[in-house]
């Protein structure tokens, strides 16, 4: 079985959107879940959170940033080409219900997985305030989509080239200190951002959820590579998550485990950029 790339476009430098033909995944997908893809026979399995899905068209949208060898290789692919494997939907869906006011925080490529949540929280009758952030205005993705899916959108950029000059956490704090009662905060982005959000919301009595994306192999509860420490207990992100209560997550452990293969990843990029063959001993 192969999975056709129906559409591919670059959103901002190094960040790409792909629509993949995967009818079974699209029919079952819910906000908060992820997929695992493998490009070709020699490829690794990488998890990506679902950015959108359309059961009628049988398509699933993923948005990814060029980071390692696999995402760089994926970025070079075009519409019409096929992925060898596209497994999902994996993980538990977000528990979306009518709560009142929900604040969704997306940082960088993390804006992609909060987009379907914005749509679903709003469809469930919530007021959705979205806070989206990026390094600068040229790196901000899905702004128009988030405006369409939210009641209110606040933007933060590290360099101040758009919206608030600073981090998304500043805007979270402003909201928490404001008049409006907030029933839930969902933050998705780099672990360091999610930790910062957890730190900000910690003193307030507000439920804060984060979506974790640790290293995993099968994504179905078999390998145990994705284990995270939540509230002092070991959890497997692929079957127990990926969403967890932010205040309980050991982010230092998460970040450390994410860096485990840093050397191997760097070597793989060097090797692929040099175009070395299988016999190469440059590593």
């Amino acid at each position: 079985m192969a999975y056709k790339i129906i559409e591919k476009r670059q959103l901002v430098p190094d960040v790409h959107l792909m629509n993949i033909q995967a009818p079974d995944v699209a029919a079952a997908a819910k906000a908060g879940q992820f997929i695992i893809l493998r490009i070709d026979e020699a490829g690794e399995r990488i998890p990506l959170t679902i950015a959108d899905y359309n059961a009628d068209e049988g398509s699933v949208t993923i948005i990814f940033q060029e980071m390692g060898k696999t995402t760089k290789q994926l970025a070079k692919m075009s519409a019409g080409e096929e992925l060898l494997d596209f497994v999902g939907p994996l993980g538990k869906e977000s528990e979306i219900e009518k709560l009142g006011t929900v604040v969704l925080v997306g940082g960088g490529v993390g804006i992609a997985p909060i987009y379907p949540q914005a749509k679903e929280y709003r469809a469930a009758g919530n007021k959705v305030i979205s806070i989206i952030g990026a390094r600068n205005k040229d790196m901000l993705i899905l702004e128009a989509e988030m405006i369409a899916a939210s009641d209110e959108v606040l933007v933060a950029t590290d360099d101040g080239s758009k919206g608030h000059h600073g981090f998304v956490t500043d805007l979270v704090k402003q909201l928490l200190d404001g008049e409006e009662h907030i029933d839930r905060i969902v933050a998705i982005g780099p672990p360091i951002m999610m930790r910062a959000v957890a730190d900000v919301t910690g003193p307030y009595d507000v439920e804060t959820l984060v979506s974790l994306n640790p290293i995993m192999v099968d994504g179905t509860g078999m390998c145990g590579g994705c284990r995270v420490n939540v509230g002092g207990e070991v959890k497997f992100a692929c079957v127990d998550g990926p969403e967890f209560n932010a205040k309980d997550v050991d982010f230092n452990l998460l970040m450390s485990r994410l860096s485990f293969y840093r050397k191997e990843e760097a070597d793989a990029i060097t090797k692929s950029q040099k175009g070395c063959g299988d016999d190469c001993k440059c590593q």
Partner: protein
């Protein structure tokens, strides 16, 4: 001096540098010589010891005549995975254990004889099976491991329309992700899986039941269902330092090596290559992990096991192979803490020595800590091979499937679960066990499903 012909194998010093198969298989001459020792008992005990009831004296008598083709036909009447079973079955605990010759000398090497029949057939080309006329009944099989493949083949053989759902990208379950290439070449698994396709079974890869479809949806869409979802969540000891970088579950380590081929530089999946590796556990999975780590270039690989050599649950043959290869056995030893080094990585394991006390409920002597025996063993990688719990995903969105407090599926003596028309077998029912016991359960369930569909 062994009476059986000696199994040709790769010499230890060479094989620890590659992932090629260790045991090379009997020659035809050796096989015939060994077959001639068979007494062809009128009331063969060996068959009783075989979970899939192969007509053992029947196929051995054909080997005596040099008719390997007829021998494999007899084996395949009840066993669709002979090349796999000939390699990984614990025959010494099953068919060979009951062989009459074992009373006075050595039992017949039934496993090795089964293997050569399957290997000979592959060399000359496997004949396509005759596909039975359709019964019009549909069966869903969840999981393409040994239990699922066996159930699928028995059900397809009688003409039911069989669809196998596999979550991973290759069919075979533990035969693909768990057992290493040097013990079971993946090309052989692929060929045996292809044979099951030729029997008419359709295999859907990348298809996670419990996520794409729930069990309830499956029972609506198929006339019967078999759950062979296998081992799931790896167990950890619950000791300090188990989440440090460099602590793997055996499942993860072996999946990276076997399914994802991390040992081969032309594949993208990374694996840590370490100097000192500790594998915790004493079963076949522990041996597989240790021997894989050695082949990845470790200087020293130790098995840490809390009981003594006698209680090691692994097959004797695997233990011997591991010892020949230089795996260090730290027996009567138990880890109590994994020591943290730089950047939250592993920098050794604190262990205690154990002694065996009175027998516990399982009848095995209970290991007890020797006071003051704490010591540190160097390690930069630790692999936990202490078992698994069943996969929980299948239970998401299913009503009425009864499970034990340990998460295994409850079945009756015929393999039927609490839901009518839904059978289960293999590790999902028993907890971690052997390939052949899973195949036996698949066979039993296929028979039960067949009767259920004929009602």
């Amino acid at each position: 001096m062994s009476i059986r012909p000696k199994m040709p194998q790769q010499a230890p010093e060479g094989r620890i540098t590659n992932f090629d198969e260790v045991a090379l298989g009997y020659t035809e001459e050796q096989a015939i010589l060994e077959a001639e020792r068979c007494l062809e008992c009128k009331n063969p005990k060996c068959v009783e010891g075989c979970p899939v009831n192969i007509d053992i004296p029947g196929f051995i008598s054909k080997i005596k005549e040099g008719d390997f083709q007829e021998a494999i036909t007899i084996i395949k009447a009840t066993n669709t995975l002979p090349a796999v079973c000939g390699r990984v079955c614990p025959q010494e605990e099953q068919c060979e254990k009951l062989c009459i010759l074992g009373n006075k000398s050595e039992p017949i090497a039934i496993g090795r004889l089964e293997r050569i029949c399957a290997d000979r057939e592959r060399e000359v080309g496997v004949k396509d099976p005759v596909v039975a006329p359709s019964t019009g009944k549909t069966v869903a099989i969840v999981g393409s491991g040994p239990a699922g493949l066996t159930a699928a083949s028995d059900l397809a053989k009688v003409g039911h329309s069989v669809t196998i759902f596999e979550a991973l990208h290759e069919a075979g379950g533990v035969l693909i992700y768990g057992i290493p290439e040097f013990r079971l070449p993946k090309a052989i698994v692929k060929e045996e899986v292809d044979y099951i396709r030729k029997l008419g079974a359709d295999i859907k890869m990348d298809y996670v039941i419990g996520r794409i479809l729930t069990l309830d949806q499956l029972t609506d869409r198929f006339d019967a269902v078999f759950l062979g979802t296998g081992a799931g969540l790896p167990k950890f000891m619950g000791i300090e330092g188990e989440n440090l970088n460099g602590v793997y579950s055996a499942n993860e380590f072996l999946t990276r090596v076997n399914l994802m081929k991390a040992y081969n530089n032309s594949f993208d999946t990374p694996i840590k290559r370490a100097s000192n590796v500790i594998v915790v556990g004493g079963g076949n999975v522990a041996m597989d992990a240790a021997r894989s780590a050695l082949r990845l270039g470790a200087d020293e690989v130790s098995i840490v096991y809390r009981r003594s050599d006698e209680e090691l649950p692994a097959r004797r043959e695997e233990i011997e192979h591991a010892k020949e290869e230089g795996i260090v056995f730290r027996l009567l030893t138990n880890p109590v803490r994994i020591i943290e080094g730089e950047n939250m990585s592993v920098n050794g394991v604190e262990c205690v020595r154990m002694e065996l006390g009175e027998p516990d409920e399982s009848g095995r002597r209970r290991p007890e800590v020797v006071e003051g025996s704490e010591h540190i063993v160097d390690a930069d990688i630790v692999i936990m091979a202490i078992g698994t719990s069943p996969n929980p995903i299948i239970f998401d969105g299913s009503k009425g499937l009864e499970v034990t407090p340990w998460g295994t599926i409850v079945v009756d003596e015929a393999g039927m679960s609490s839901i009518e028309g839904v059978c289960a077998g293999g590790d999902a029912v028993t907890g971690a066990a052997t390939v052949i016991s899973a195949m036996g359960a698949g066979k039993l369930a296929a028979d039960t499903i067949n009767k259920y569909l004929s009602k």
